[in-house]
């Protein structure tokens, strides 16, 4: 499967980059058909490929490709992780601290904002859910607005939020975490409301026969019953947190994978963008996997099926 994807990717590189490849060939003096770049602009990629099949050797090694070839991305990934840290002037080996040209350093920055936002969002989500489950007013008034809140394109507002937080003197990690928290609280609310309400009538009645108070019901019944729902939500929330952190890093060019992506895009370093992108997706996969691992551990400790 992976091989198939790589194959398709390599193949797709040819038509994606054909315009640039032919322009370069033309500058180098080869005869290209059609001859003018203006005429080529309006032609389909595949017909260009077909008409100039001899000139396509450069497709996989352009400096500013529209679509970099997999090995270019892989090389960039290597360069901006191991190579930079071990051999680079600012790498950890030479300077004693992580290099700001390495994705490890930027991944770390993004992760710290992700975690902070995730924690804030989760705590907020659980608190809201507990409130919603225990108070009908909160249920009736907050739930619809929680849905509305998610239709606001927060990602588009990120720069404004950051500026607003500047104005009350908050900078650095927290603005990013706020955006992360905003994106991650919603899945937690939805999942936890479901989870806290998941005990059936019989389980609740049992508590009533013991004459247990709301707090006891919460700690002894609702919270344990909601754990599977919590983890399902946490997996969504942590991925959302990561996106939030990256979004928060775009406008504030102070490091992080988001800043990396923008900078790469700014200077046309396509493979740098792709490397940061893959790194982000890999981090997301790792975080989700970690949450899943924690879930399995917790559920096992709670007597879940092995």
């Amino acid at each position: 499967m992976i091989l198939l994807v790589l194959g398709i990717w390599y193949l797709a590189v040819i038509p994606m980059n054909v315009q640039d490849v032919l322009t370069r060939a033309e500058r180098a003096g080869a005869s290209v058909s059609p001859e003018s770049a203006v005429a080529r602009r309006d032609m389909g990629s595949w017909s260009l490929v077909a008409r100039n099949s001899a000139l396509l050797g450069e497709s996989w090694s352009l400096d500013r490709p529209r679509l970099p070839a997999p090995h270019q991305v892989a090389a960039e990934l290597y360069r901006s992780t191991f190579d930079e840290e071990i051999n680079g002037r600012r790498g950890i080996v030479k300077s004693g601290s992580l290099s700001n040209r390495s994705l490890i350093y930027h991944g770390g920055i993004t992760l710290s904002a992700t975690f902070l936002g995730f924690v804030i969002g989760t705590v907020m989500g659980i608190t809201l859910a507990v409130g919603i489950v225990h108070s009908r007013v909160m249920d009736m008034s907050i739930m619809p607005w929680a849905i509305v809140s998610q239709t606001i394109p927060i990602v588009a507002l990120a720069p404004m939020i950051i500026v607003v937080l500047y104005s009350i003197g908050i900078q650095g990690l927290i603005p990013k975490a706020v955006i992360s928290a905003y994106l991650s609280f919603f899945p937690v609310v939805v999942g936890m409301v479901k989870g806290l309400r998941s005990p059936d009538a019989m389980q609740l009645d049992l508590m009533r026969t013991y004459n247990a108070g709301a707090f006891t019901v919460l700690t002894k019944l609702r919270l344990p019953a909601s754990v599977p729902y919590l983890f399902a939500s946490l997996k969504i929330a942590i991925a959302a947190s990561l996106v939030g952190a990256i979004v928060g890093e775009l406008p504030v060019q102070k490091g992080g994978l988001g800043a990396r992506m923008l900078a790469g895009s700014y200077y046309g370093q396509t493979s740098q963008v792709w490397a940061a992108l893959l790194m982000a997706a890999g981090l997301a996969a790792l975080l989700v996997w970690l949450t899943g691992w924690l879930e399995r551990r917790t559920l096992r400790a709670m007597g879940g099926l092995p």
């Binding site: 499967m1 198939l4 994807v5 994606m16 529209r66 679509l67 009908r136 007013v137 009736m140 008034s141 907050i142 739930m143 619809p144 607005w145 849905i147 509305v148 998610q150 239709t151 606001i152 394109p153 927060i154 990602v155 588009a156 507002l157 720069p159 404004m160 500026v163 607003v164 104005s167 991925a239 990561l242 996106v243 990256i246 979004v247 775009l250 988001g258 992506m261 895009s265 396509t270 963008v273 792709w274 940061a276 992108l277 982000a280 997706a281 997301a284 996969a285 989700v288």
Partner: protein, 281 residues
Amino acid sequence: MNLVLLALLIWGAGFAFNLWLARPARAQSRAARLAVPLIFGATVLVMWELIVRGLEVPQVILPPPSEIAATFASNISMLWGDFVQTILKGALGGYVIGCSAAFLTALLVDRYTYLRQGLLPLGNFMAALPIVGTAPILVMWFGFGWQSKAAVVVLMVYFPMLVNIVAGLSETSAMQRDLMRTYAASWGKTLLKLRLPAALPFIFNGLKVSTTLALIGAIVAEFFGSPTQGLGFRISTSIGQLDLGLVWSAILVAAITGTLAYGLAALIEKWLTFWHPSQRG
């Protein structure tokens, strides 16, 4: 400062009224279920207005709702143009393409197990790509028009939809499937008569999540290049011009559309999955 106190007072009053409305006897009525969130929203707006005025928050940081409303009213035709560009062309186009593609893929994945094993993990990985990274790439590939916005939306809605549809299609119980086997029903018949109806609650879950994703995708993609129209363009340009009233008006358009779209999906869901326990209340 007095305004701030007034704001807190109004908040208290709204809350008390809601408490009264939410009492068990009344909470069931349709009017109360509608009124409570509306009163909540209204108190938030009034508080916003009073606090912004009371604390003299600069207009360029946070304008009061009254000013937003005024800007909104005087720019209706421009906002309509943005709405058409971003929502009708970008978001809706991408939504339709993305959801249909996910549906077709789900059928394929369902039919051929080896595809599922390969495609779903890949899908999960791709779904983790942050849009802020993919959007500039897609703008580079598909140009500045609505097509690139639709592409971003497709990428955003495709995997949540796929995951939901695939989960939904396997939602049937062994007994329900065995019943079909006793009728010697074909794959197609089983799909049509059993698995699709059973999958509907999941599909609608996906559709609801995707409405907001589509909206956000279309707007954010405009930050990375657009024609001189569109909600994302408006938000970004107006921030630069310090016209915060217009920024919030554009956000308002997005929020209203998102809420309506979500509501519409929920309504259709209610209508089509009336049989599901969650809809029977």
